[in-house]
Amino acid sequence: MSNIQNLFTQPLKVINIGTSTFKKDLDLQQTEAVQYDWRPPAGGNIQLIEALDMFIDSDLVQAANEEAIKRIKDAHPFLIDIDQAKHVIPGMHEKKILHSGPPITWDKMCGPVRGAIIGALMYEGLAKDESEAIALIEGGEIEFGPANEHQAVGPMAGIISPSMPVHVIENRTHGNRAYCTVNEGLGKVLRFGANSKEVLDRLKWIETTFAPALKKALALSDGIDLKSITSQALHMGDECHNRNKASTSLFYREIIDYFLQTDLTQGELRDVVGFIKNNEHYFLNLSMPASKSALDAAHGIPYSTVVTTMARNGVEFGIRVSGLGEKEWFTAPANFVKGLFFPGYTEDDAAPDLGDSTITETMGIGGFAMGGSPAIVQFVGGDVEDAISYSEQMYEITVGENTNYSIPTLNFRGGAFGIDIRKVIETNILPVINTGMAHKEAGVGQVGAGIVHPPKACFEQALLRFKETYEEGAS
């Protein structure tokens, strides 16, 4: 009763939900009001609304999510070693090939991924040419699996074959590890599906010269602190997915001293160090497994609705959620990227969204940190204000703010992290991703870059499955 009396004696302060004409009349009367542009929750889907209502205020879910983001934030990844995949990646064997994105069979794979697999088989010496490679695959000889299910991640095609050297990242807070190949550079490279002699030769060089050298250098160090580099790089205009200039430079600065202490000849040293120096995206292949190691530590918390993986295989986009199964993927057809094309290429040339690099956005960097990386904006075809808006929007769908990865242009606010599937459904806001575009044909390379969103269906399926799994015990 007294609440109504309170209302009569206070100034009216109104939230207008729906038709904005009512707000205009409130403005005329100088009444303080906010316009809430309402859209049907969950796209109007009744089942989803039910699922949402069941868990949106749940204390169990809230607590589980807090635990998840605590783990992600506390994780501390270090680069400790580099070694061949077959020696370090659990479950890896001589005839196994890992790929990016959710599980997929050979017949469904897209051009660049096939090209890369063929290249990998040739590199391994299992096939002499393309036709032999295909015969091997169609004969059922080769086992495929998502890198993400093997504590690994790979950019673009993301192909990891047994002999390839992979960076070994250790999350010293929780003890788990993550793996990722060495970034080959730009141009004709395996990850875009190229498999010419040049590509294979380079891969061999990485295996026989670069990796052993880096291994020696790392052995002398106590591990390179990737969390610290990422944190600094975000203050230097990188977002650590498409812009890695600063982070690569910082890494170079850290590792060079150890290289100088090894017994490499001057020639070898120059080659190896030059390889890092000339590759602006070297750090991407460290940023990704660093994020992976943090997110893996947060997977498997009952009742948590935090997304622990976002990945694409060129055909489908898949996500995994902490409170649901390790191998439970929620997939839907991947979107096409919207952005700028390099001269000579158009929309028709692009492959759909591809790669595990969205693990960075899952971590709260990459596209989420766009607001602090205005340079990326020109590259992906937008305005500085747009970049900032995107970053700000992400706070609506995440659990917390990571002060370790703060964004200068947002007054050093901690970056949004811990994507919550409930909030994505409730607000209709999808996570934003900055990414490059591959040519749909194998081996051509990158044709542009831009912004893409995951398909909403992934989150919808995940929420419905979450409801099925937890509705008995819902609070």
């Binding site: 203050h235 230097m236 205009g237 205005p374 500085v384 204000e385 200068p408």
Partner: protein, 312 residues
């Protein structure tokens, strides 16, 4: 939101070029209807962001989009951080200020006259203008009282005090007397300070001995002003001591005897009485210079203050 720079002080642009991109370079200290003041962190300077029709001053960026500025004013608050996010781009909250193509402006007086002559004509036109159109609520009221001109209203407390000082200055044009004007009067830039701005600009332009004195005791004078008046006034006078001033004053003084009515009318739109107060300073300065000339002649390059013929 985006604001595009229309005109920028070259000294400011040069300063910003030397800063690191991504850095916070200052904080908003005050927000007014036509102007936003920013205190720089690395230097003792006030940067002003102003609407398109404001008279240009040193350390100011004028923008094109007045209506957008009005919106910005509503949600930029004092203590908001100001960032340099590009070689020619600033950011405050969600407002981006791009001055890539802003015209460069300099507040330095460019012309040095061949002979420093202040004519009676100049003084007469300026005086007539002030009597006819000047705003009397500031130091003009005091000046008119001194020359026994009829006034619409009785003098206020501050005007009375200013009148005393004007009379003192006429007798003893010393640094100590000039200091008595600092911080005195109403308005955000007290009338006394605006008066001094006008006065100093004349001293500077005509290479008077008073100017040598000001330069000699510059540090002491600056410290005194910093403690005794508002930050806006302080920075305005500081810039003058470093030989730079606003567009209106610069134009008016440089035109010498060619001073046009339109040049003078601009002053009526500076602040409420600030512009008029500045012109009073100019007038008093010119009268002072002229007095020195007629008293003993300047053809030998020595000011008459130092000559025996000096009568007062």
């Amino acid at each position: 939101m985006k604001l595009t720079g229309k005109q920028i002080d070259w000294g400011l642009k040069r300063f910003l070029l030397g800063q690191n991109i991504g850095q916070m370079i200052g904080q908003v200290v005050s927000v007014y209807q036509r102007v936003i003041n920013i205190q720089l962190t690395e230097a003792d300077r006030y940067v002003t962001l102003a609407k398109s029709q404001v008279v240009q001053t040193p350390d100011m960026i004028k923008i094109y989009e007045d209506d957008v500025f009005n919106d910005c004013v509503k949600h930029i608050n004092p203590s908001s951080h100001v960032y340099l996010i590009g070689y020619n781009t600033l950011m405050i909250e969600d407002v981006v200020i791009d001055f890539h193509h802003a015209e460069l402006w300099s507040g330095r007086f460019i012309r040095y006259p061949d002979h420093n002559e202040v004519t009676e004509q100049m003084i007469k036109s300026l005086k007539t203008f002030l009597i006819r159109k000047g705003r009397t609520q500031g130091i003009l009221g005091s000046y008119l009282a001194v020359i026994n001109q009829p006034l619409p209203d009785p003098l206020s407390l501050h005007q009375d005090a200013l009148k005393d000082r004007l009379m003192m200055f006429k007798q003893w044009p010393t640094l100590d007397v000039m200091k008595q004007f600092v911080g005195l009067g109403i308005g955000l830039t007290p009338s006394g300070d605006d008066f001094l701005l006008g006065l100093f600009s004349v001293f500077y332009y005509y290479h008077s001995s008073e100017w040598q004195l000001i330069i000699e005791y510059k540090d002491d004078l600056l410290q005194y002003m910093k403690e005794r008046t508002t930050p806006v006034s302080y920075h305005m006078l500081k810039q003058m001591i470093y030989s730079q001033t606003n567009d209106a004053l610069k134009t008016a003084i440089e035109s010498g005897s060619d001073m046009k009515l339109t040049d003078l009318e601009v002053f009526l739109h500076i602040g409420s009485t600030s512009g008029t107060d500045m012109l009073v300073g100019v007038l008093v300065g010119l009268e002072h210079m002229h007095r020195k000339t007629i008293q003993g002649g300047m053809s030998d390059g020595i000011e008459s203050d130092h000559r025996e013929e000096c009568l007062s």
